[in-house]
Structures are given as structure tokens and as C-alpha cells.
Amino acid sequence: MGRYILQRLTYGLITFFLIATFTFFLMDLLPGSPYQNQEKLTESQIQLLNDRYGLNDPLPVRYATYIGNMLQGDLGVSFRTANRPVTELIMERIGPSAQLGLQALVLGTLVGILLGVVAAIRHNTVIDYGSMFVSVIGISVPSFVFAALLQYYVGVQFKLLPVAFWDSPAHTILPTISLSLGVTASIARFVRTEMLEVTGQDYVTLAKAKGLSGNAIVWKHMVRNAMIPAITILGPLTAALLTGTFVIEKIFAVPGLGELFVTSITLNDYSVIMGTTLFFSAVFILIILMVDLLYGVVDPRIRLGGDN
């Protein structure tokens, strides 16, 4: 186990280091200038600015500085937002993104489990087809299309909920629902398949034989076991949530990390792009690692470090 964790951590670190390097050199190739109104600046002013931000140093020197600073948690300063340190920009935006992501994950998981369980219990009935239809739609409708339509009909047409921004819990409802759609759909499909899988298992027959009620069998025995493999899709789901936050935060004007990333791209704010990329990658790598480890803890039947 310890060896496995160590091995996985090493891979994670290599991946992260590669991403950091890759991002750095890509940024060097990026077209456009990081300064506002570059046309209005004189040659010497640009020179001064470049000096100040260290953009005149040769590439290897800049790379070494960048990696060195990164290891100390310093991601440089934003070129656009009044010299704010990137780390600070990221820190103040983690809140809304994390809240949005968690809410969507919880809502999506709960609704997804419910849909999946109901579909499996009422296998091959209208209820089953209905809930599977919902989940196909959920997988197929791009989150931004769903979000835009939700925003228009619920927010603009019927004025039921706030259209945008992030001020009160009510403001979080529409973005959360939009983001959770994909989660709901994948969990529902997964849980249904797994539930059907465990239906024929001996422990279910035993539970029936000892006279447990239908509900107890379903929730105590079947769902618990059906949920174990569901942990594997947590990794892809996290990736999907990350993708989702980019557009959903843009559509609903949520001051989160996704919005920061998209804006910094349109503004050519190099250091912010690099910083957020590294941050996202670190989160992603950590979550994948945690999911893999969790899998072994939850179900002792799975031996970690398997194929060797």
C-alpha cells in the first residue's frame, strides 16, 4: 500500500512538472502583448516594463526563476489587474468555484442515485425508460446550452430566480442545477447498471430470505454495494465539473476560477493563465489520486498496485 501511494505520488509530481514546463513554453509562443494599449507605449517604455517583469531575460533564466518561485507558492503578478499577485487572485476566487462545484456534485449525486435506483427497481417499465431518457438527455445536452436556456426561461422570462451574479443562496440555484445535470445523468446510468448487477447476488437473496423489507434490501444492501464502483467515475466527473465551471461561471457571471481563467485568456494575462492552469492541474491530479486510493479503502476486495 505504502509503495503504491509513493509510486502514484511520484507520477502525479512528474505530470505536474511536465504541465508546468509545457505551460511555460507554450506561453512563450503565445501571440499578442500582455500590455494594455501597447501601440501607445514608446519603445523605451515597453523596454522598461519588460525589464520590470523580467521578460527580457533569456528563456532558460526565466524558466528557472519561474519554477523556483512556483515551488515557493509564488505564481508571479498579474499583468492586467493592477499588479495583484496571482496566488492572491486565485485564493479569493476559490470560494465561489468550490461552493458551486460541491453543490453541483452533491445535488447531482443525490438525484442521480435516486433516478438510477428507481430505474433499476422498476426495471423495463415506463419509469425505467423515463429516467433513462432523462439521463441520455442529461449526457447529451451541452451544459452551456442548458444553462443559457435555464437562464432565459427561469430568470428572464418568468423572473423566478436571479439571472446572474453570486450574492445570495438564491443566486447559486441556477448555476448549481446547470452544472449538476451532467453529474446526475452519469451517476444515474452508472447506478442503474450496478444495481442490476447486484440484484442477483447471494447476499441480496439472503437478505430477502431473512425477511428484510424491500426498502431495507435496496438501501442497506444493494445501493451500498452498487455505489462502490461509482467511485471510479468520480475522476471523469471532476474533469467534467471543471469543464462545466468555465462556461457556467461565464454565463452566470460567477466570480470563480473558471471565469478568471477564461477572462485571462481573452486578455492575454500570461501569469494568470499559467497560475490558474497549474492550480487546476494540481487539483485534478490530487483528486484522481484520492479517488484511486479511496477505491482501495472502500472495497478491500480490490488489491492496489494490481497488475504487478
Binding site: 505530470t15 507554450l26 503565445l30 451541452p142 492552469t277
Partner: protein
Amino acid sequence: MIENKKNYEQFDQDMFTPIEMNEQLGERIAGKSLNFWQDAWLRLKKNKAAIISLSIILILVILSLFGPMLSGRDAYEQNISQAKLPPKVTGLEWAGFDGMATLGGREIDFYEQKNVEENYWFGTDYLGRDLWSRIWEGTRISLFIGLMAAIIDTVIGVAYGGISAYFGGRTDNIMQRIVEILTGVPNLILIILFILIFDPGVFTIILAMVITGWIGMSRLVRGQILKLKNQEFVLAARTLGASSGRLIFKHLIPNTLGAIIITLMFTIPSAIFFEAFLSFIGIGLQPPQASLGTLINDGYKELRTFPFLLVIPSVIIVLLMVSFNLLADGLRDAFDPKMRK
């Protein structure tokens, strides 16, 4: 049970005559022998959802090729005097295709207001471009991106996974360590960075998606080939002196083809989604090029006054995605009935 019994009792015993058994009859094969594909097609035909999806995909493909010709208008021709016309189809007025839109709380016939004689089936956008032609033009580009990305993913994935599994040992070890490192990369961020560096265009988007897209396919192929390569028919072929290339391409790959096709079918909608996603956040295809993503992005900007600009391309992309997903589900059941639930 009792009902069944009743049904049986309707039949007279005399109606049945016992068949005389002989050796020839015992060896006779009653049904026509079907190969793998015919068998799969038979099963797929029984799946209504998959067949409807297949038809929808075919219709959309045909429309994306010939749709612009039907309206006779160019997808890129601007006509400011006829900008922002709502959709209007003679005979379909009841379904909302009546050329009316709400402006400042009142229903206005835009065609009357702008003195336009002809009908625009899907209306026009803010530059007066015919939305019908643009939608099909966009669908074609989206389909092309999806298909190309899926095919390139498959080629690289099959080659990588195949080589890795077939040769095994150290080759496999090194190749799998590379894959392990690559899977840690959040592909979306890589795609975005890649597109930022190179000019946004159809091929940049395809390439960007391929960078990490082939990994899933390579893992699938590796798993399948690892399972197959020690089976007897491979050993037999090897004993007969078949070369590695022949073994891989004649024996191993054809046996994993079902799984490959299923994965390919799931890749297409996800590639279409990614293109639309990139175009929606503004770093995908650039105007005036049309794709479903750019059309949705354009429509989103006009959402408050002209919802049809968002709704029509959204309906098309949803139809496309649902159909591909259902068809892929159907194919999975058809190729591997054990998987059916």
C-alpha cells in the same frame, strides 16, 4: 401459468404429428449461418431507439450536405437590411414559424415591418445571413470535426495500444508509464492552451482534441489484446508462421473491432461537444465561420430579443448528441449482448 394451460388446451392433440428423427435431420442447420456483422445488424434492427437515432443522423448528414442548396442562399452573404428576421415557413405558422417576435412587450411581424417578401425558414442573424444555410454549414463543420477527431484518435489509439499489448514486457512498461503521466493532464486546459498558440481553425481544434483523446482508445485496445493474445487461435496462427504484423492486423484487431467501433461512436459526440464548448467561450472557430458552437454563441448574445437564434442551433446539437449516444448504446448491445441491461 393457468392461462397458458388454457391456451394449450385449445389445440387438438390430432393437430400434432411427431417428427421422425433420423441422422440427416439431426445434422441439418435450420437457420442461415450469420457472420458477426450480420448478427449484430439483426440485433441492432430490433433496437428502436438506435434505428431512429441512425435515421436522424442520416437525415442531419444529408441536410448538412444539401441543406444550403434547398434555400438557395449563401451561408456567408450578409444583407443588413434583412437582419434579425424571425423564422417564417408558409404552412407552419401555428408552430411558431410565423415571422413574429416580441419587441418591447408587443408582438411584431418583422417581415411586414421590414418589407420582406420572401420567407427565411430559420430566420436571419444580426448580419442578415440566412440561418437555415448557416445551421447546415455549421452542422457539417461540427460533424467533420467530430468524425476526424474520432478517426485520428482511433488510429493512434489502436496502434499505440496494440503495440504496447502485443510486445509486452519492457515496451509495454515504458509505454504505459507515458500513458499514466498523460492521463493526469486535465485535457481541457491542454486543449485551450494549444488553441491559444496556434491559429484557431478546424484543424487546430481537431489536433488539440487528439493530443489527449487517443489515450482512452489505446487503453481499451491494450486491454482487449492482452486478453486475446494468449488464446489458441493466435497460437495457431503463430505456429503457422504468421508475422507480427499479420497477427496484429489480421487476427487481433478484427477481434477487438466491435469494442473499437463502440468507443469511436462515443468519441464523436464528445468531440462535437468540445468544439461547441470552445467556440462558446470564444476561442474555437472564428467568425465568419459557422459551427454549431459559434452559432450558439451568437444566439446567446441575442437571447433576450431573439431566442430562436439560440434555440434552433441548440436543438440541432442536442439531436445530434442524443442520436450518437443512443446509437452507440445500441451498437454496444448489438456487438456484445452480454452487456445489455
